[in-house]
Amino acid sequence: MNWTATAVALFQVLVATLVAPLVIGITRQTRARLEGRAGAGILQPWRDLLKLLRKETLQANGVSWISSVGPIIVMASSLLVAALLPLISTITLPLVPDDLFVVVSVLLIGTVAVALIGLDAGSAFGGMGSSRHMMIAALVEPTVLVAVYALSIPAGSSLLSSIVATRLDAPAVILSPVSLLAVVALFVAVLAETGRLPVDNPSTHLELTMVHEAMILESSGRDLAWLELGSWLRLSALLGLVANLMIPWGLATDATVLALVIGTIALLVKLTVFAAALGAGEVFLAKLRLFRVPELLAGSFVLAFLAVTASYLVT
């Protein structure tokens, strides 16, 4: 057992969890300002979360244990993703490698758990949200796999931390056509995976257009808090991964305190910039009609596929 690696991973989970609601707060605040509103401030998601934890947890009549266990599984899978991804440091846990397939599987556990919660309460909107969610997940997973595979070719390893470390050592890789295609494909996949515009509108009130919201309509109190924090944490962790793939500087490569402090500050700066850019970008986007989502995701798959092809042709 490598205690340093475990301590670093726990520290990374702690930072990511504390920051995740702030990332959502920054996107909402940026949107509010661009729309001419004053905005609730970037601390509002934290206030909402703390309030939810103090509220009564109601469940629909006749639900099974899925509704109680599901939110915890979602939260656990997001915490595990935050521990595995190279967000603050490239140090990996020796027992659980941050391999491409491990990360995608852990993400899929959370995805399936949310879909089951949507089905469990038996409401029409929940089932509709679950079926849409699984359709999007089925279209997104191949893109993530192929895009990260393209990125892994220069590193010679499918460990995300070594991919990022290679880009830190040889920054020329970042601007190669292969890497640009793959990162764009990955970014579209991350938007779809975390339920952002143009695939899903996180602030919609219209049940017929919901995907993620429709599945959590019946959750309340503590269950809702875990589902919300889980999805926010997943967004922050994946956004942090994309940020580190594009701008790997600042990432800690050894477990000294100074390196970790620099790594944390670098992560905070990158997430702030990316969250603000995400909020600003969403002002210009409308949600895509559901039947056009496959076209967008097929497009991102083509980019990822081109990246793999190009990596064998352009060296």
């Binding site: 001419g36 004053a38 905005g39 509220k55 049940e207 919901m210 309509l217």
Partner: protein
């Protein structure tokens, strides 16, 4: 609209939200859990849609109730406060009772508009069961036909305390 034109529009318009008025007097029945963050579900129990237009304005860019920590949500399970508008009609009585039951405690019910308070112009109508307080417990009331957005905001701020 193209991105460039939208950018120009944003720059020209700038900030639409008006300056926040002074914090109104706090209502002392607010549960401690709800300070700073209130999720709202709106229930139309039989309104003429006048109150709905005012509620729409409350969450629009000019009055911008979101800055006080109030946010509209899509499900009563996510809500802390129910904004009930209109007289309670026969067809909406059970729906209203069930919506209140589906809201996790601590919860508040705010009756918005004269119809919700005392049936207003619809008193003794054949489809009318009564005012909101005849059907469920009401914690706060906002008067007016329709109520001013400022008054709805004052009621919400007396709950969020911001």
């Amino acid at each position: 609209m193209s991105v460039l034109r939208l950018l120009q529009l944003m720059r020209r318009t700038g900030r639409v939200a008006e300056a926040a008025p002074d914090l109104p007097e706090q209502w002392d029945g607010v549960p401690a859990a709800l300070s700073g963050s209130v999720q709202i579900r709106h229930v139309d129990a039989g309104s003429c849609n006048g109150c709905e237009i005012e509620i729409g304005a409350v969450f629009g860019p000019v009055y911008d109730a979101e800055r006080y920590g109030a946010r509209l949500v899509a499900s009563p399970r996510h809500a802390d406060v129910l904004l009930v508008t209109g007289v309670v009609t026969r067809n909406m009585t059970e729906a209203l009772v069930r919506t209140v039951e589906a809201t996790p405690r601590p919860r508040l019910v705010i009756a918005v508009g004269d119809c919700a308070r005392n049936c207003g112009v619809f008193t003794d109508g054949h489809a009318v069961v009564g005012s909101v307080s005849d059907v469920v417990d009401v914690d706060l009331e906002v008067a007016g036909c329709p109520p001013e957005p400022d008054h709805i905001i004052a009621a919400l701020r007396s709950v969020t305390g911001r």
